[in-house]
Symmetry: C2
Subunit: 351 residues, 2 copies
């Protein structure tokens, strides 16, 4: 099977060119059919490639000098879509030169460039940003939106649910991903009208490839009882960062506690395999790769501070979404929703 | 100094009468001037008091048979404000029979009863629910609102900031509590208009007893860099529960890791003092007592599953807020705000 190649913005992220190239090479060690279009400064990319003989014949370089700044306003970056490494990587997907793009650069700029170049899918009003998070269960949980849309109405939320379920089916291999709307209680009367409306629509939508199970509160996101958490970009961003911040807070407290006495230092050394397990489970690199859902093409955002292993995970997510044709799956989900809506309409009209 | 007594709803909470009475008794062991009005089933309260000779002469019982259910709708519970232990405890504050009320019952019902009996303070449009959370710094952080108001406009947020700062001054003893608005970025253009408006008003308000320092993202709440986090009830509830859930998630992972092998079990035993420190720091009982701010009277919500130690902490919070006259401090803060607004108005009019 031959996969379309993946465009990698080699210049984005806090760690520079080398970590992006090391990451691509690691992904190729895991999956030797991967092919790359590496976008950025040719001299630095070539220098980084010297360490990776496995990338020979598997990568082409697209040179450019311009880079989007980490703090740059998206509107400003957009003007340089045709000259920056980020813009060219996204554009390669538009032109069919690559099947997917991966960047560790400025999230807002990447979203803006991706929307402009790839356009929103038919049937989707607004794309959303989705990420994976660890759980106590067998698979990661997906949450969306995480900040692409500060607000979202009932219609947006229903579309997010369909997109999230399509993504979850691919990464978890669950037939019917368990989908819930984020709310501040599980009773029907909780939260906003838009949440109640979205819940009603999803409850009625029996033909969809998901199991809609009502509301979830933010203390239950990581229990392994839900596969897709649907919310607006403001609440999603608040929940995501609260989870990330608290995981760091607790591990910081643990480190302080373990170094507080000789006895606890010894205990720490003895139990190191256990704490390494914990570290591995919580390491953001193992859940790296946030996906822009709802575009005509696959764009994956790698965390700015990801390691080579993290970048390899983001590249693998991109490849998996291509291989399983995420965009087609979302279209099918939307068609099912619309078929149901029309049937409801016909029934009402017949009465 | 003689403090007004504290009304304790002995019937609320998951743990029953005994934990509430044990908690009151423990609070009195710490502060022997505390006096109580214990509201609920007389026979069970008397049985629980038998274990606590220190409560003799320090407590009066107000008998009633009726109890608010944990899942009861607030509107339904309100009709029984005059017959339930919760309603009578709050009413004792209204009548001047007690200075503050503590309950571990249904939060929505307690809020509704408190608003009806005590009314909102002059100058406050909507009361808010505030709680303490642990940090890496020297003191707890206060967050509000946590769900009393699903939505909040700029004016509400400014009032929440004033109420939160007054509360923080009492529990942290900081002269100028550091106040921030919860947002999904720290740049000026992030989030909603209402956040930008509230930020502008607080930035201009130089005479207030707080240091307003802009926005905070939810991954920075527990770093010890902020004393009061201000937000609407939906976002606040999402952030609070995400923090609580993740702290539990990480400690669950840690427990799993520590019991995964003989070696790590030994390591756990050796480092037990360290993990106990962690447990102590994160134990919700040590941060128990959410406060309804903005009412003509002090009402404290103890967590439904709090231990006697947790209840004692909630009682102590209530006593401390009475002693330091929280309500008066909020009035002063509001007067400062209004004085400033009028001065601004006079200046504008003079131009």
């Amino acid at each position: 099977m031959s996969l379309p190649r993946i465009a990698v913005d080699a210049m984005g992220g806090d760690e520079g060119v080398r970590v992006m190239i090391d990451g691509a090479a690691e992904a190729r060690r895991r999956h030797d059919q991967f092919q790359f279009l590496l976008v950025g400064d040719e001299t630095r990319i070539k220098a980084a490639l010297d360490d990776h003989p496995n990338m020979r014949g598997a990568s082409e370089i697209l040179h450019c000098d311009d880079v989007v700044g980490g703090d740059e306003l998206p509107t400003k970056a957009l003007r340089r879509a045709k000259t920056t490494s980020m813009g060219l990587a996204v554009n390669a997907v538009k032109q069919g030169d690559a099947g997917a793009a991966v960047s560790a650069g400025n999230t807002g700029a990447l979203m803006a460039m991706s929307k402009l170049a790839l356009r929103t899918m038919p049937g989707i009003d607004r794309p959303a940003l989705a990420a994976l998070m660890p759980t106590l269960g067998d698979n990661d949980v997906i949450m969306l939106d995480l900040g692409a849309n500060t607000e979202a109405d009932a219609r947006n939320l229903v579309q997010f649910a369909i997109m999230g379920a399509a993504y979850s089916k691919i990464v978890t291999e669950r037939d019917l991903p368990r989908v819930r709307l984020l709310n501040i209680g599980t009773e029907e009367n909780k939260g906003f009208d838009r949440l109640r409306e979205a819940a009603e629509q999803l409850q009625d939508a029996t033909g969809l490839d998901m199991s809609f199970e009502g509301y979830v509160e933010s203390d239950k996101i990581n229990r392994g009882e839900v596969d897709v958490v649907v919310t607006d970009g403001f609440s999603g961003n608040i929940a995501l960062k609260a989870i990330e911040g608290t995981a760091r807070f607790v591990t910081d407290l643990l480190r302080n506690a373990f170094t507080s006495s000789i006895r606890s230092k010894i205990g720490f050394l003895v139990s190191r395999p256990a704490t390494e397990l914990l570290k591995h489970h919580l390491d953001p690199n193992n859940h790296n790769g946030a996906v822009f859902l709802g575009l005509n093409g696959v764009v994956v955002k790698s965390h700015g501070s990801a390691t080579a292993g993290g970048v390899a995970n983001a590249v693998t997510v991109a490849a998996r979404l291509l291989e399983e044709d995420l965009t087609q799956r979302i279209s099918t989900g939307l068609a099912e929703l619309h078929a149901r809506e029309e049937a409801t309409f016909d029934n009402s009209a017949a009465k």
